[in-house]
Symmetry: C2
Subunit: 498 residues, 2 copies
């Protein structure tokens, strides 16, 4: 801990790229994680909480994301453990745990993990160095029934947290099918996988840019190359037209009916062994999901899903929210992807030398929360503060405490004002800052008469904003009730805003 | 990220002093945190989740615990933020947040925080470098009504998580009373607080050792000093007998009736201004708690509570479990302290220059869980695995998936076996490792006849352990039922073990 500059006063700031979460931001996320854990657990997945710190050796030096291989971690050196770092995802620790405890864990091992991960990336707007991941993986199950199960679970999970059917879609693809298509297009040689690697890289990146460049742009990249608006030239994969047709056909293979998509893919992969295997697997997944009633309104086979394909070895899947929201500039846009995953086989092998099949999904909890907030589906109740019992007479604090006790025992969130009670206006300002729905007032006069004043602060705020003087008179937002009616009257007001 | 040694295979291990938590260890803690948050929230406390990483400048270089001032943190240097470290508690980040957002936060600010903290200490048995803290603090409330509120909340919280009244006690003391006693004993000079500091230090440490050394040992340390069994001599505070009497009287001041304890303390602090103030505060707290019905069966004034006194400036409190448990060597012992806290005033001042009064409690969640497990009050249900539907015929996977779906829709945790189904024995071993209560079996024969086999694995295990051959025959643990009765029969078995 060297080099701490001497300063008269330390700065009250988080390190760059970190932030704090307040009140309902925390509780809404907790509630969502609880709902997700409930679904995962019902599917037989077991909780796992690994340490936040791992040895760099166990973690691996780089993130597995091929698009950003140099994404950093937060690491430091310890005398007794060597170089250690904060975990950057939940998958690397899972591989370590499975290798370490494989004799004690059941096989297959279904586990879920939720918690913060840390990435030493350049921070940007809405992009933080600490964020939540919420993963479910099945380790040691070679059957694609495990992939189907996770897709079904993903669908159930989205509905559990409040995304209604029709507002989301789970898309499934298979890395093997893409390999088959590459083989047919002549950019993959099964007898020498290193051949054409550069070309395949260009093809992958081109497919990934379909949204942005459109079909013509992608086709140019598959061929000789493409000049962008600024005049810069990007070298293409050098595919002949017939080869490019195969790749373009793959991206365009989705049909309205799943069986037709599969038939089209089978055409495209032709004689490719790996390609046929991929289509067979997709078919098996589709059959299993169909039998359980997951129709195309929830889960579809969609060859245009290429997300993270470099990392996966078989089925890949992704969940997208299909409704539109307004962005910060007021423009309509699709909300987009909130979860993704797939099958990967080599993570445990690093430790044990044995390949262990695994498949899993990661849900972007913060994105899901943002979606639900954008649709107004959460944040109404959870942002509401407690009932505030004001203090008119410091000597009668015990009486005020008794009032909050009664309210709490009735299940109502309540507190006594504990600041300096001299200025009553400050107490109401405090209640306002707390977003309190109700304030309770009992001065000496009220105490003598056995009554209390109950202020409906929500109505009060509304009247202050909207009402004319006439209306103000007609719609009182303060009620005098008997002391014994405290709980009943407060509940009556709270019920108005449920 | 330099100096990573090249090795053929990385070691699958956590760094020294860290561990993983599996299954019910995770879910039981989550459930306890949820219950605690529920109580805290009802009291009007708001959730706060700060980043795990803080600047060393904001954190302060040392832990506030006077007994271990050199306790280390995990820190490293960042290009854009300078030296940063993982938080070592929840209080330092609270001070930083309050200083940073004081214009936006309500005053008083009641907040709770739950999550892991990290300490770079020597690991030992049961002592880890990452563990949970669960704090509630009120910042900006000078009134001891805030301390009383936290003591009441602590009592409610313990009962909410499953510690019945009578199995715990919350003890309250006041640092000011101790200072008053020191003044009377002649080891505190209000006009020069630096005077007698060494003597006061010895007195504090002596009081803290009452449990271990007994009255005679403490008295020796208050006087000339003490020779221990090994012959080593510890220098005493050099108090005359009359002075030592005052201090000993303080530790012994607890009476059966709270009012008598307070009267005795008032005697002891005599003319000391700070001492009288301390007794007044204790009296105010006692009155407030009394009015709400918190009697001596839940909360008492107890002058022998000295925990962490060096850090606090006013009331201090501690919750202790009073029941006995058996330790790892089979010896009966008191479970002891599970929560503690008090009033502190200088943490925010570091940042803003203004003293802000604050009081708060920290609950040792892992110790509370250990206590509940030791009493057998949790761990029965939460350790139970899912119902396992076995796979007799791989081609009928869709049917098996349908069975788990039916079970899940009925609220029952269930899964299909997804390993290699060839060896049926492995499937039952798997169910055993999962701690499954029930296995479902449907072979080709059963499918034809429209029935399924349901195995009660809990009863099965019991029979295998205890039963004679006769009993084995009389108590079948496997039932053949119609396929349509799957859910009903499984529920019937699960209900047996509720």
């Amino acid at each position: 801990m060297a080099k701490v500059k001497k300063q008269p006063r330390p700065k009250a700031e988080t390190p760059k790229g970190f932030r704090d979460y307040f009140g309902h931001e925390v509780t809404e996320r907790q509630e969502m994680l609880r709902q997700i854990a409930e679904v995962y657990s019902h599917y037989g997945f077991d909780a796992l909480e690994t340490s936040a710190v791992e040895t760099v050796e166990a973690l691996g030096k780089f993130l597995p994301d091929v698009d950003r291989p140099n994404e950093g971690v937060f690491g430091w050196e310890e005398d007794d453990s060597g170089w250690v770092a904060l975990r950057y995802d939940m998958t690397a620790p899972l591989a370590r745990v499975y290798a370490q405890f494989r004799n004690d864990l059941p096989t297959p091992y279904r586990r879920y993990a939720m918690g913060p991960v840390w990435r030493n990336e350049k921070p940007g707007p809405g992009r933080f160095r600490q964020f939540y991941q919420c993963d479910a993986d099945t380790v040691g199950a070679p059957s694609v029934a495990a992939d189907a199960e996770i897709c079904a679970m993903l669908s159930d999970t989205l509905e559990r947290v409040g995304i209604p059917r029709g507002d989301y879609i789970v898309r499934i693809n298979n890395r093997k099918v893409l390999n088959g298509v590459m083989e047919v297009a002549g950019v993959l040689d099964p007898s020498d996988e290193t051949k054409f690697e550069a070309e395949r890289g260009i093809v992958l990146r081109a497919i990934d840019k379909l949204d942005r460049l459109g079909e013509d742009g992608v086709r140019a990249l598959l061929g000789e190359g493409r000049k962008d608006e600024s005049g810069d030239f990007t070298k293409g994969a050098g595919l002949a037209d017939a080869q490019a047709d195969v790749v373009m056909g793959f991206m365009d293979a989705r049909r309205d009916i799943g069986a037709e998509t599969l038939a089209r893919l089978r055409e495209l992969v032709g004689e490719s062994k790996i390609g046929s295997e991929g289509v067979d697997e997709l078919e098996e997944i589709a059959t299993l999901l169909d039998a359980q009633g997951y129709g195309p309104d929830r889960i579809i086979v969609d060859p245009s899903v290429v997300r993270g394909l470099g990392y996966y070895t078989g089925p890949v899947y992704e969940a997208e929210l299909t409704f539109e929201i307004f962005d910060e500039k007021g423009r309509k846009r699709q909300f987009g992807s909130v979860a993704g995953g797939g099958r990967y086989d080599d993570l445990v092998k690093r430790f044990t030398g044995q390949a262990v099949p695994a498949t899993g999904v990661s849900i972007g909890v913060d994105r899901l929360l943002a979606a639900l907030r954008a649709k107004g589906r959460i944040g109404q109740d959870s942002a509401r503060g407690p009932v505030v019992v004001t203090v008119m007479d410091k000597a009668r604090m015990a009486d005020y405490q008794l009032m909050v006790r009664e309210l709490r025992e009735a299940g109502i969130r309540a507190e006594v004002y504990l600041g300096n009670p001299k200025n009553f206006g400050n107490q109401l300002k405090y209640a306002d800052k707390r977003n309190s729905p109700v304030a309770v007032i009992e001065g000496g006069d009220e105490a003598e008469r056995g009554v209390i004043q109950i202020k409906d602060l929500i109505l009060g705020a509304k009247i202050a904003e909207e009402a004319t003087l006439e209306e103000w008179k007609d719609r009182p937002s303060q009620y005098e009730v008997a002391r014994g009616d405290l709980v009943a009257k407060v509940r009556e007001i709270l019920d108005l805003y449920k």
